[in-house]
């Protein structure tokens, strides 16, 4: 027992940090790839921002209200619409409008990317045990690693600004959408899967005619979670130059200005509540929407 301790204490510190640094350095060697990726993500961000900036604030508020009315038309939502109206008006009144659209851009771009990556990955995991065994621990790692840590390589690889913010948010908010998609597909009742095959579905038909529609609510709850996680990243991402409501909070911290901090924080809360309700509303049964 004692001997073992002696041997253990005799082992020099493993140069873990050094190894990771050389890995990141090695990655920066692929500058072409990362530049292209940066340009791609930048293009997505620019187009979303461009669309959001197209509308004056008052028209934007009306559009959001109309959208809410459409998505939630089968539940009582008048109170929520009044909240939206007052909340967005407050953001406008505080002069946070442009910051809000920047934050919204970050969240929407992140959501778009995690859906495009996460849903197919989740489906693949559900279908293949091998993929499941490989991806699952990686997802746990991604989600439990403190989000701050991602900022460092993100800057090294993607520079400063919105793009590394999106990359860090994607890494942080990807896991729930992958695992809920996987769960949703796995939870499709066995007899429905059997029925699909028995009636002659090929694998694609089985997926998009039976499994995805049945898993839809679960998948959308994953998207909702991912969106909320992305929103939680906005303050952290502002440390590497991502502009928006998050940077207002970050600056307020620097100036020790509680008022400004809370004002911007409340704007984030309002945005979060609106996004949460709307994305949740998309998940409610399609059937009621069709009626």
């Amino acid at each position: 027992m004692n001997n073992a301790l002696v041997i253990l204490s005799g082992i020099p510190a493993i140069p873990l940090a050094k190894w990771i640094n050389s890995f990141v350095n090695w990655l920066t060697g692929f500058a072409g790839f990362f530049n292209a990726l940066t340009a791609g993500i930048g293009a997505i961000l620019d187009s979303i921002q461009w669309i959001l900036d197209l509308f004056p604030a008052w028209l934007f508020i009306i559009i959001i209200l109309a959208l809410t009315w459409y998505i939630l038309r089968n539940s009582k939502h008048w109170g929520f619409m009044i909240f939206e109206l007052l909340g967005l008006a407050l953001i406008w009144n505080q002069g946070f409008w442009h910051d809000m659209t920047q934050t919204l851009t970050l969240v929407l771009a992140t959501s778009l990317i995690i859906i495009v990556i996460g849903v197919p990955l989740g489906i693949w995991m559900a279908k293949s045990n091998t993929v499941n065994m490989i991806v699952k621990p990686i997802l746990s790692f991604m989600q439990t690693m403190p989000a701050f840590v991602y900022l460092i390589p993100a800057v090294a690889l993607f520079g400063i600004g919105m793009v590394p913010g999106v990359v860090a948010s994607v890494i942080f908010s990807l896991p729930p959408i992958v695992s809920t998609t996987c769960l949703g597909i796995q939870q499709v009742p066995a007899d429905l899967q059997e029925a699909a095959v028995a009636f002659g579905c090929n694998n694609w038909q089985k997926l998009y005619k039976v499994e995805l529609p049945i898993a839809r609510t679960t998948i959308i709850s994953g998207i909702n979670q991912g969106m909320m996680l992305a929103l939680s990243m906005v303050v952290i991402a502002s440390m590497i130059g991502t502009m928006g409501l998050g940077s207002l909070v970050y600056f307020a911290v620097g100036r020790n200005d509680a008022g400004a901090g809370f004002a911007a924080g409340i704007a984030i809360v309002i945005l979060a509540i609106i996004l949460d309700r709307l994305s949740e509303g998309l998940g409610s049964s399609k059937r009621h929407q069709n009626k």
């Binding site: 429905l192 029925a195 028995a198 002659g200 005619k209 399609k286």
Partner: protein
């Protein structure tokens, strides 16, 4: 009866589940018991060397308790479960050789399946559910909806096109399942405990519905059931499975009267026989008098010969007329009357040979005179005596006789 055509031929079909299929198969052919194989290889024998045929247009019931391998057997027909060894021929085609498109076509066009818990898609309307099979085949929306609408009407679900499965009762949901299966117009219906999830009343109704439907559609129906009463009611032939083995393949009547081994015997012991046995099964050939030829003296003599107190009366063409009583005939002779018509009792309960005993029980037990069993042209086919009914229900051998009360 018309010559039966073989629709499906099952040839030495086996299915073994588990990690060491080859080893298990060796042990199985070496004659080891299933328990030994499970202990040695951790593999389960689902179906062991099944050999039988299914005829065109028959309702073929595969019967057994849970774990007997009947569901496995059913799923090998459309290869939801791949057999370990053996062959299935459908219309003389070896379906084991199908792959890719051939297999999809088999499932899309030749066979449809009805599931125990309905397996309807909850996010689709009833119409879209019923049209599912055709949708998978890529049939145009208008055509498939038309077809689906027709089959929904056929199963008695007119006007529910736009409802959703959870708005329907269990019985109605299974009608949708049935409609979905027949919309493809397959030759073969695979029904997996299709009515087991329904309450007894609904189950009975669906069984009748299936028989009616079969009358119109003439499909080959393979029906899985653990309920012997159901099997006996709807099956043209029944296959008994026990522990992966095919124990007996027979018509319901032969199964009841000639059980092959103790397992089947034990199984049929609890059957409500009144539901399976028909008037024809228990009737006996009576001694009769011909009213146009025989007089009172002749009638009395026949009754004396057979030691009975009444006798059935027919005309020259054996049309049933009624019953006469010995005391009445005695009286006639004393009064010097000659015409038996004067004492003929025409108020005799009648039935047909196909009628199940369960429908007649109440009347038989109340009626003081035997039942007359008539064919469509009112010819006397036989009579039903109370004592024979009791014998038949108690499981005694049922055979024709001529004794009379």
């Amino acid at each position: 009866m018309a010559e039966k055509q073989v629709k499906i031929k099952v040839d030495h079909l086996s299915k073994i589940f588990g990690p060491h299929v080859n080893k298990a198969q060796e042990l199985l052919s070496a004659g080891k018991s299933k328990a030994d194989i499970l202990a040695q290889t951790n593999s389960t024998v689902g179906v062991d060397n099944a050999d039988f045929t299914i005829n065109d247009n028959e309702i073929f019931v595969i019967m057994g308790l849970s774990g007997s391998g009947k569901s496995t057997m059913l799923r090998m027909f459309n290869r939801l479960i791949e057999p370990t060894s053996g062959t299935i021929y459908v219309d003389d085609e070896n379906i084991m050789q199908l792959s890719g498109k051939g297999l999809l076509d088999l499932r899309r066009k030749k066979m449809s399946m009805v599931f125990q818990n309905f397996a309807l898609l909850p996010n689709r309307t009833i119409l879209d559910n019923a049209a599912f099979g055709l949708e998978v085949q890529g049939v145009a929306k208008e055509t498939r909806n038309q077809k689906a609408h027709e089959s929904l009407e056929l199963v008695g679900l007119k006007g529910y096109d736009d409802s959703y499965p959870d708005e329907l009762s269990g019985g109605m949901q299974q009608r949708v399942g049935l409609a979905r299966a027949i919309t493809n117009d397959p030759d073969i219906l695979l029904m997996d405990e299709a009515f087991s999830a329904l309450d007894p009343l609904n189950r009975r109704e669906m069984q009748n519905e299936l028989l009616d439907l079969q009358h119109q559609l003439h499909k080959t129906i393979i029906f899985i059931s653990h309920d012997l009463n159901e099997a006996l009611r709807i099956g043209d032939r029944i296959l008994m499975m026990h522990d992966g083995d095919v124990v007996q393949v027979d018509t319901p009547e032969d199964l009841l009267t000639h059980p092959k081994n103790d397992y089947v015997k034990a199984f049929i012991e609890n059957v409500d026989r009144s539901k399976i046995l028909t008037a024809g099964n228990v009737m006996i050939k009576p001694n009769t008098v011909n009213i146009e030829k025989d007089g009172p003296k002749m009638a009395l003599r026949r009754m004396n010969d057979d030691q009975i107190s009444s006798i059935f009366v027919v005309d020259n063409d054996r049309h049933f007329l009624g019953l006469i009583d010995a005391d009445d005939v005695d009286q006639m002779l004393k009064n010097n009357q000659r015409d038996l018509h004067d004492v003929l009792n025409t108020n005799i309960p009648r039935t047909t040979a196909e009628k199940p005993l369960s429908d007649l029980m109440a009347e038989i037990s109340k009626s003081p005179v035997p039942f007359a069993v008539l064919d469509d042209e009112k010819h006397l086919e036989g009579i039903i005596l109370r004592s024979r009914v009791l014998e038949a229900l108690s499981g005694e051998r049922v055979e024709g006789g001529s004794d009379h009360e």
